[in-house]
Amino acid sequence: MNTEVNLAGITLKNPVMTGSGTFGSGMEYGEFVDLNCLGAVVTKGVANVPWPGNPTPRVAEVYGGMLNAIGLQNPGIDVFMERDIPFLKQYDTKIIVNVCGKSVEDYLEVVDKLGEEPAVAMLEINVSCPNVKEGAIAFGQKADALYNITSQIKKHAKQPIIMKLSPNVTDITEMARAAEAAGADALSLINTITGMKIDIHRRKFALANKTGGMSGPAIKPIAVRMVYQTAQAVKIPIIGMGGIADAEDAIEFLLAGATAVSVGAMNFVNPYATVEVIKGIEDYMSKYNVEKLTDLIGAVRE
C-alpha cells in the first residue's frame, strides 16, 4: 500500500497534515502524537514582527464547532526561525510555514527570510484570516489583489507556495483561478467562515472581536463543496480542510479532489486525531483494495 502524495514536487509520506494555528509548531501536540507519523506540520501564521493578537475572549464554542478571533498572535519570524524550525527539524516530517502580513512588504520580508532555511519544504500564504483588521483578508477577497500578491510572493519565494483561500467570497473558483494564474504552486482551503455569537444572558458578544472565524465539523459540507468546485477549476493540487474529525471525513475531501488534508480544530477535541486519521485511511485502503492513495484523489465525478 502506498500512501505517498506529491504536493507541487514535495513528496509527503501520507496526505495528513495539521491546520495552521491549531497545532502551534508541533511542540504541544508532540506530547500526544509522534510527529514523525505526519505527512507535514503546518505551523501557526508568522509575520515579520511579533503580533500581540486580539483581546480576550478569543474563542467561543458554537453548535458543532467553534469561533476564534486570535488575531494571528505570533512571536515574529526571527524567534520562529531560531526556536520553532530547529524543534521541527528533529522530526521526519515536512515543515510547511504559514505566513501572514499586513502589507505585501510584510509578507515578502518573511518569505525572503524563510528562503534561507532549506528545512522549510513549502510556504502557505494566509491571505484569508478574517480576524485582523488591516491587510490579510483584503488580499484574499478580491481576485486582482490575490493575483497581485501571489505573483509578487512567487518572485521571491525559494520554496513552492500554497495560497490559502478564504471561503468568505461569492465564487471560490474565481479566486482559485487568479492564484493559479499568478503562479501559485498549490491551494489550501478552506480557512474559517466568518461568524458571530451573542451571549443572551450578558447581552454581549461572545468574542471581544465581535466576529470570529468558524471551524469544526459543522463547516465540513461547505468545505467539501468548495474543494470539489476548485478541483474542477484548477490544475494545481489542493489541500482540503474544514471540520475533519476522522478518516471518513478526510477521505471525503480526497475523493472531492484534495491531494492532501489538514486536521484543524478537531485536534482540540481529540489530540490524537491526526494519527487516527492516517491509520483510518490505511484501513479504508485495505478494505477497498486501494493500492495507491493517489487513486482516491478526485475519484468522485458526475
Binding site: 506530547e31 480576550t56 476564534n68 486570535i70 482540540f268 477535541v269 490524537y272
Partner: protein, 256 residues
Amino acid sequence: MKEKSMACVLSQAELAPGIFDLWLQTGMAANAKPGQFIGVYPKNASTLLPRPISICEVNEDKTALRIVYRVAGAGTAEFSGLKEGDRVAILGTLGNGFPLEAGKGKKCFLMGGGIGVPPILQLSKELAAEKSIFLGYRDGALFLKEDFEKYGNVFVATEDGSNGTKGNVMDAIAASGLEADVIYACGPMPMLRAIKRYAQEKGIQAYISLEEHMACGVGACLGCVVKTKEVDHHSHVHNARICTDGPVFEAKEVEI
C-alpha cells in the same frame, strides 16, 4: 505527560444547589498538583470542547481526582447527570499549579471565592505552612467548608451576611486582623484584583489562579491569554497562555 483518556465515575453528589462533587478514577491522579486542572469532555457532539475544571482534591493513594463544579451551561449540566460507573473523557493534567515552595514555612492566606473555592482544598492539604483559609460565598449555601477545617483556621464571608463576615474575603481578612507573607487565591476577577492591590500595598507575594475561555487547553491555539507586565518568554509579546503558563500567576506579573 498529558493525555486524553477515559475516567470512571466513582461517585457524584450535590453539595449545594447547582454545585456538584464528582470523584473520578484516573491515572492522571498520580501526578496531579494543587492548582492544576483537567478538561472534561461532554459526550454530546454539538458541544465539542473540553470544559476546564480545577482539581479539588486527590485521594490518598493517588488513583482518583475530585472536581467540584457549578452547573453553568450545557456541558456542566450534562456532567451533573453522571452516575457511579459511568465513563467520561478527560484531558490532563493541565496547567502549572500553585508554587508550594513560595509559602513553605511561612504565614499564608489561602483564599477561595465562589466556585474558586474548590482548587484551594488540595492546596491546603499539601502546603506546609501556617495557614489561614478565607472562603467567600454568595449566601448561606456553603460548600466544602468542613473539608477545609482539618487543614487550617477557616474564616467565612458571605455576601448576604448569613454566615461569617458580611461581605467578601477581603472584609474577612480585615475582620480577622491577621497578616500574611504569601497569598494563594482563586475566585472571581474583582476578588483577584482586590488581592493584587492588597499584596502590592503590603509588599507581599500573591499567587492567583486565572480563568479564560479555552479551546485546546494545552498551549497550541493561543485562545486563553492574559496580558503580562513583561514580554512573555514563549509568545514574545505581552501575553501568557493561561492554560499552560498558568492558570496560576504571581499577581504582579499579570495585568488584570
